[in-house]
């Protein structure tokens, strides 16, 4: 656990970077510090490992006052990841990862063995260990940076804009990787970003800063989206926060409509008898193959098998129970029929969902959320 108690950082010219900050980072959780540039989020992070010294206040790291410890020893117990990776260009990947264990006196062979394990943990081929940083892509280097920070198994991990310098696809995969690692390792993570999307995706808790080093709101991501404290938070979180909040709503107990779902060997007469404006045709095994509109049914012979008719695409599906309502809504918007196709874990059609059912599900979940967030 990390606790900020009335922490202020004032520079010699009078600039206040962080102003009487009180903040608690629970052990084993990811706390994201987010805010506009110059809001003091990075300064707050750097005060934890004393790269920046606070002017006033106390910072406790696992109950111990950071300011009363030898900074060099303190830092060896805190992992640190930065945007530009900060890998040592003159050391192999393996030796980069082994840095802190070697500083702590580990034997070189043991430290390198541990380094190879860590490379695997962050999703890299341990054979890359013999290469030098410049021989790796930006995304790979960033993974090495994470492995290096984890090498001595520190309880605390500080990450300063760790994914800002890579392209959006790589960024998304690194974020997923961090979430996966966290379910496994349960470190106390403090991550700084200017990207609200990232904060909401990776944070267990989000601390949103105002300019000049004060906090606007601290809470779970869903709180910021669902119950912004004021206009500043509302603006910062963005105009589509309603849509993004749907990411936190599950799709486990939806009433899926199975009446317009027909197998490929069903006839046009069967399809017409459903009365539905669109029918969804499935293959053997239940995989959805395409949508057929009513006018196309009317133009075909009543004994024709559905699989012989031209069908419109239905490639955007969502997995009922696993995906969020946001994915369901997305699938409905992208569907030619205006209905989302739900599949089960095996890809078999579970049913379809129209806008009206999605709207009802949103209303029910929002009411649950307002009552007490038992989702």
């Amino acid at each position: 656990m990390i606790t900020f108690e009335r922490v202020t950082k004032r520079y010699a010219d009078g600039t206040v970077a962080v102003d009487a900050l009180d903040l608690e980072v629970p052990a084993g959780k990811t706390m994201v510090l987010v805010g506009p540039s110059g809001c003091g989020k990075t300064t707050s992070l750097r005060m934890i490992n004393r790269l920046v010294e606070p002017t006033e206040g106390r910072i406790l790291v696992d109950g111990r006052d950071a300011l009363r410890q030898d900074p060099v020893k303190l830092r060896r117990g805190i992992g640190y990841v930065i945007q530009q990776t900060g890998l040592f260009p003159h050391r192999t990947i393996e030796d980069n990862v082994a840095t802190v264990p070697l500083l702590l006196g580990a034997r070189r062979a043991a430290a390198r063995g541990r380094a190879r394990e860590l490379l695997e943990l962050v999703g890299l081929d341990p054979a890359l260990g013999r290469r030098y940083p410049r021989q790796l892509s930006g995304g790979q280097q960033q993974r090495v940076g994470v492995a290096r920070a984890l090498a001595a198994d520190p309880p605390v991990l500080l990450m300063d804009e760790p994914f800002s310098a890579v392209d959006p696809v790589v960024r998304a995969s690194l974020q997923d990787e961090l979430i996966r690692l966290q379910t496994e390792l349960r470190k106390t993570v403090v991550l700084v970003t200017h990207d609200v999307e990232e904060a909401i995706k990776v944070g267990d808790q989000v601390a949103l800063y105002r300019p000049h080093g004060t906090l606007a709101q601290v809470g779970e991501p869903e709180d910021l989206l669902g119950a912004p404290a004021d206009d500043y938070v509302r603006d910062f979180v963005g105009f589509d926060r309603g849509i993004r909040r749907l990411s936190f709503f599950g799709t486990g107990d939806l009433d899926l409509d199975t009446s317009p779902v027909l197998a490929g060997d069903a006839t046009v007469a069967d399809a017409v008898s459903t009365g539905a404006p669109w029918v969804l045709v499935t293959a053997d095994g239940g995989r959805p193959t395409g949508w057929v509109p009513r006018h196309r049914l009317d133009a075909a012979g009543s004994a024709t098998a559905l699989r012989d008719l031209a069908a419109d695409h239905c490639e955007h599906t969502f997995t009922a129970g696993t995906d969020s309502l946001r994915a369901a809504l997305d699938a409905a918007v992208l569907s030619p029929a205006g209905q989302a196709v739900a599949v089960d874990g095996a890809g078999k059609t579970a049913g379809v969902l129209g806008y009206e059912q999605i709207r009802a599900a949103i209303a029910a979940r929002a009411a649950d959320g307002a009552r007490g967030k038992d989702r």
């Binding site: 060099v72 303190l74 830092r75 640190y80 900060g86 003159h90 500083l103």
Partner: protein
């Protein structure tokens, strides 16, 4: 060109070449040893660099012959005189490279080292200096090559090396000697330069080739 002169004087030629190599390499190495702490201090304390650079540039502006003569009262007409003068010149060439090399260390690598628990001395020795090696060796190469060439002026105060062949060849109107001296000085410079390139490659396996 009298080719037969070469084999009949090979002993003397070899000795002069050895002396010239000594006067080129030793001052550069002593210069490196002094330039390192000087450059480290200048890189660390910004205020210290401008005056240091000014003093070094003034030294570098002193004509070599004048410097040799100025050192005669203290060191006489000796090798030491030339070694000291050339050391001063190599210091002028290497120190700015030490500073530039240290300043070129990526800020992120330096910050990461601090954040992982390196003390200042360990960070300097195991992160900053190794990363500055290519730029420092670039300075050393210039110092060695110019030292090998400048050493010949030592002949004017009677310190022997390949420059002897120029004076002797001129006085005897015997161009072969001058040509041999010139070719050997250039060859020596090239060999020493290639050796330093090899040293750099061994010390920096991490660099792009």
């Amino acid at each position: 060109m009298d080719w037969s002169w070469i084999p009949s004087n090979s002993g003397q030629i070899l000795q002069l070449t050895g002396e010239n190599a000594y006067l080129g390499i030793v001052p550069a190495l002593i210069g490196l040893v002094i330039a390192l702490p000087l450059g480290i201090a200048a890189a660390r304390w910004n205020w210290f660099y401008p005056p240091t650079l000014t003093v070094l540039n003034i030294i570098y502006a002193i004509p070599s012959l004048a410097l040799f003569i100025a050192l005669i009262p203290a060191f006489g007409l000796t090798d030491t005189n030339v070694v000291i003068a050339l050391t001063l010149y190599s210091l002028c060439v290497i120190t700015p490279n030490v500073v530039a090399g240290l300043r070129a260390v990526p800020a992120a690598a330096r910050q990461a080292a601090t954040a992982m628990g390196y003390g200042p001395a360990r960070r300097l020795l195991t992160v900053e200096l190794p990363l500055a090696v290519p730029v420092i060796i670039a300075g050393l190469r210039v110092a060695v090559v110019s030292g090998i060439s400048l050493a010949s002026i030592g002949q004017l105060i009677g310190v022997s090396q390949l420059g002897y062949l120029f004076i002797d060849g001129l006085q005897r109107s015997f161009p072969t000697e001058v040509y041999v001296g010139l070719v050997l000085i250039i060859a020596l410079a090239i060999v020493c330069d290639l050796l330093l390139v090899g040293v750099r490659r061994i010390l920096t396996p991490w660099e792009a080739r």
